[in-house]
């Protein structure tokens, strides 16, 4: 049962009816839990044990952490008078270390499962390659491993919770069923967003009443998500799949076709992922739950840093809270910065800047390496992460130089042409990163970049593009949809304080009626669904 199936809509409708007619408001979350369980089991019942393990282990360790913390504080209070300052400091340190070990246990257990299932074969293959090059007679076996549905998303969400409990940002959940709901809430299990506990949990457990406006806005968001996924993403993916079907086939395409494919991928990925998130958010909104928005017109970003604040916002926020910040203020990073400041170079203007931003720059590099690996177990994803990380690191380190050039050239930073140039430049950088997403392997990615510059042939490109499974009319339709997306994005960008749905609410009924009607009919007529087409999974489902 995928989010774009008719069965899913019926499932949501039935769940909503039961949820809102249940007379005991404080037990309405149970309906969501049962629905989430049914949804998960229908999609992947064989692997339900993994999500149950993560939920149970995280909840129990959370309780343990909290009790250690409370007992420690109690003990500290009890010995307030009889312990001297040193003893108190030692006790606090011991307590911190103990808490860290408990948290680490949870992280190792759960990230261990994720790492094993997702990366074991990658590491085994890499190890075999290395040992083979040294002619060592050893071969790590490769295993037939399957990824449980949503494992990356629910693991990250649960581990965020355990860190928050460790940091005493949230109280540990005592009800295993409520915690299971937080981990498995069905609208977000397939591809996020990765919510944090303080933002989502209270909304899940609160018994919401039916609100027509929420229901309407939820339905609008679902409809828009269907449009993006079925009309745009699943149409574009036909051509992309034709190019990437086999590594041998991929090799045969010229630079023009590969350039076109990467451009098409930028459209498909955005429409697919943001469409899926819109459906998730729309469904949650019907139940009165606001999930965070995962996108904020990312292709309008003027820097790659900004792009990552606008693209997959929940993953970026998770990485920032739980990886970047701890790394940037960690002892080794701060020490390195301090050491550099003490050198002769560190005393120059440029050196001072570099010393200052060094922890941030290195933390960014590591975070993006992790983001890359999070996308998949392959060198091409490592390259994807490194590309983004290196660009961000360099832009951070060289910021004063860029600022100087702009000042020297007397460029007005608010000039629309300059803004457009920045957006275009950032988009190109993003596209280069996408090359590694699309290409079957890292080597193919490098080859693609080479062909961008050496193998542009418009006529051959047109001939090849005509064989990718889409008709001329399909391309025209994709063009119209791109323009529609662009116009809507510009409107959203100009009115970022409100949503399109709130803006629509103020328009006359007839106009709204016509717009909704066009959108529904567009999905029915132009959507890619039914037996004539192979239904495409959401791209981020695999991550």
């Amino acid at each position: 049962m995928t989010y774009t199936s008719f069965n899913f809509l019926l499932f949501v409708l039935a769940t909503a009816v039961i949820y809102f007619i249940l007379p005991w408001k404080k037990f309405r979350w149970v309906v969501l839990l049962i629905a989430s369980g049914v949804f998960y089991c229908l999609a992947s019942y064989k692997y339900a044990v993994f999500i149950l393990f993560t939920a149970l282990s995280t909840m129990l360790i959370g309780l343990w952490l909290e009790s250690v913390n409370k007992n420690g504080k109690l003990k500290l209070r009890q010995h307030k008078a009889d312990w001297d300052r040193e003893a108190k400091k030692k006790f606090k340190n011991d307590l911190k270390v103990k808490k860290r070990w408990i948290m680490a246990l949870c992280l190792i257990l759960n990230f261990g499962i994720l790492a094993f299932l997702k990366y074991y074969n990658f590491f085994a293959g890499s190890l075999n390659d290395i040992l083979g090059s040294f002619r060592v007679d050893f071969s790590a076996p490769t295993l037939k491993l399957f990824l449980p549905l949503g494992i990356s998303f629910y693991t990250f969400q649960s581990m965020g919770y355990i860190v928050d409990v460790y940091r005493e940002k949230v109280e540990a959940q005592r009800n295993p069923f409520k915690f299971l709901l937080f981990v498995s809430f069905f609208p977000q299990i397939i591809q996020g967003p990765i919510s944090n506990y303080s933002q989502l949990a209270s909304q899940l457990f609160e018994g919401h009443s039916f609100e027509f406006t929420r229901f309407k806005h939820g339905c609008q968001l679902i409809l828009w998500g269907f449009f993006k996924k079925l009309v745009i993403a699943d149409r574009a993916v036909i051509a992309i799949n034709a190019v990437t079907a086999t590594p041998e086939g991929y090799n045969g395409y010229g630079g023009t076709t590969l350039t076109f494919t990467i451009l098409l991928y930028s459209l498909q990925l955005y429409a697919d992922f943001s469409g899926g998130i819109d459906i998730s958010r729309g469904v949650a909104q019907i139940f009165g739950i606001d999930m965070i928005d995962n996108f904020k017109r990312p292709y309008f970003s003027k820097t790659i840093n900004e792009y990552w604040r606008r693209w997959h916002i929940s993953l970026g926020a998770w990485m920032k809270d739980y990886i970047f910040n701890p790394l940037a203020i960690s002892g080794p990073f701060l020490n390195a910065s301090k050491k550099m400041r003490g050198t002769r170079f560190g005393k120059t203007k440029a050196g001072a800047h570099i010393a200052k931003v060094l922890p941030t720059a290195f933390a960014s590099l590591i975070v993006f390496l992790l983001v890359g690996v999070w996308h998949g177990a392959s060198y091409k994803y490592v390259a994807f992460g490194l590309w983004n990380g290196v660009i961000i690191m360099l832009s951070t380190l060289m910021q004063p130089l860029f600022d100087g050039v702009v000042d020297k050239l007397h460029i007005n930073r608010k000039n629309p042409f300059f803004c457009f140039f920045q957006m275009f430049r950032t988009f190109i950088v993003v596209l280069v990163g996408y090359v590694f997403d699309v290409a079957p392997t890292f080597e193919h990615g490098m080859m693609t970049i080479g062909r961008f510059f050496t193998d542009q042939n418009f006529e051959r490109g047109i001939d090849e593009i005509n064989t990718l499974g889409l008709s001329f009319k399909d391309y025209i339709l994709l063009g119209i949809c791109t323009v529609t997306l662009l116009v809507i994005s510009i409107i959203q960008e100009r009115h970022s304080d409100t949503t399109m749905r709130e803006m629509l609410d103020k328009k006359p009924f007839i106009l709204r009626f016509v717009l909704y009607f066009i959108c529904v009919m567009a999905v029915i007529i132009f959507g890619i669904y039914g037996s004539g087409y192979a239904a495409a999974d959401f791209v981020y489902m695999q991550f």
Binding site: I524, I525, G530, S531
Partner: protein, 406 residues
């Protein structure tokens, strides 16, 4: 106040839902559907006046290419119709018979047995089922057919064909030629082609042919399992329901090595049919009597061209009227006018096809391609334009009517 708000909202939602449902239904019924010459032929059958046909032919493309209802009416006064679809599978025959009885109850049903010639490994694909099932009324015959022949998980696409055909938007505007003709046909209430379709070509087959020796050959090969099951079910149904006005036949083909094994299976089918007490006329054996010339009367290996169709129609109508005593129905004036229109159309098709065949022949083209003539908007305009120029006598009644009006 709140009550008023709720009512307003409910009305708005209902209006929106209705607009979507009605639009989807209209799209599904007329635009985003299978629209081809099979659709026109099937729709043409169902708009015929009830019980107005003397003879209905059932089968596949051999039937609608090899038999002209317009000519049959012109020369024998018989009203007939080829209720046939392209590559019709064996499962289709029984529901076709049921539909014919339900909507027409003619004096004679002629079943061309091409549908039973398929082996189990070459049964027609889903598209061939669709050509029939998408174009018949949604009644119990239709529902039974869906239930019996398709997996449960796929049946939703038959109940809601827009799931299958929504992507056909990209066939427009090319497909308009079928849509416009179909709308006109439904509005007019009859098909002027009466299901006929041909390709203007004179095919010259090469290699070893068996046509001259078929009259003496009784060799047999077993039928495919599905084909035999469907044939026996059809015969059982006819016997159980005491339906006797059915004859089975096999239309002529060019018989090469490959087609010869089909001919042998046809002999097996003949035995099964005759054992059940029904007549079987194997026209492949009567090539000489019909006057079929394999080098002139086919447009490809399996289909008679306009000349072959002319010969076969006359031969079969002779047989029906003389041997089986089928006599024409009494028609109303409007029915007569409609059939006169079909005669005129047939003549236009004939003249145009003959000219096209001549032109191709002059150019030395004798492969199995050629100009398709069917009841679509483009073909109709083309043949009419040609006929107006070369055979103005066909339009004499128009001139008379115009003069009267003046």
């Amino acid at each position: 106040m709140k009550k008023k708000l709720y009512i307003t909202r409910a009305i708005k939602i209902i209006c929106f839902a209705l607009a979507v449902v009605i639009s989807t239904y209209l799209l599904q019924a007329y635009v985003l559907k299978r629209n081809d010459n099979n659709t026109l032929r099937m729709d043409g059958f169902f708009v015929e006046d009830k019980e107005s046909l003397d003879v209905v032919y059932i089968g596949a493309s051999d039937v609608y290419a090899g038999y002209s209802a317009g000519l049959a009416y012109d020369e024998y006064g018989l009203t007939s119709y080829p209720f046939a679809t392209q590559a019709s599978p064996p499962q289709v025959v029984l529901p076709q018979i049921k539909d014919v009885i339900k909507h027409q109850n003619p004096k004679m049903i002629v079943v061309e047995i091409n549908s039973f010639m398929y082996k189990d490994n070459d049964l027609p694909a889903e598209a061939s089922h669709r050509m029939f099932v998408d174009n018949i009324p949604r009644d119990d015959i239709w529902a039974d057919y869906i239930k019996e022949n398709f997996p449960e998980e796929d049946q939703i696409e038959y109940w809601l064909p827009i799931i299958k055909y929504h992507g056909s938007w990209s066939d427009y505007p090319w497909k308009l030629k079928f849509l416009l003709t179909d709308l006109a046909l439904r509005q007019r209430g009859y098909s002027s082609f009466r299901g006929f379709k041909t390709v203007a070509n004179e095919f010259h087959p090469g290699g070893k042919l068996y046509n001259d020796t078929l009259a003496e050959t009784d060799d047999k090969l077993p039928l495919g399992y599905t084909s035999e099951r469907c044939l026996r079910e059809t015969l059982d149904y006819l016997k159980e329901n005491n339906i006797k006005n059915v004859i089975f036949t096999r239309f002529p083909h060019i018989v090469n090595n490959k087609a010869y094994s089909r001919f042998k299976r046809c002999n097996t089918a003949q035995q099964i049919i005759e054992e059940s007490g029904f007549d079987f006329i194997n026209l492949e054996r009567y090539g000489k009597q019909i006057g079929i010339d394999v080098n002139k009367d086919f447009y490809n290996w399996d289909h008679l061209n306009i000349y072959g169709a002319e010969k076969l129609t006359r031969y079969f109508c002779d047989k029906l009227t003389k041997e089986y005593g089928v006599t024409p129905n009494e028609l109303t004036e409007s029915q007569k006018a409609e059939w006169a229109e079909s005669v005129k159309t047939y003549k236009m098709i004939y003249y145009y096809s003959a000219e096209m065949i001549k032109r191709r022949s002059d150019l030395g083209k004798n492969d199995n391609s050629g100009t398709t003539v069917s009841e679509d908007d483009t073909s109709v305009k083309t043949i009419e334009k040609y006929a107006r120029k070369t055979h103005p006598e066909l339009f004499a009644d128009e001139a008379t009517e115009a003069a009267k009006a003046e």
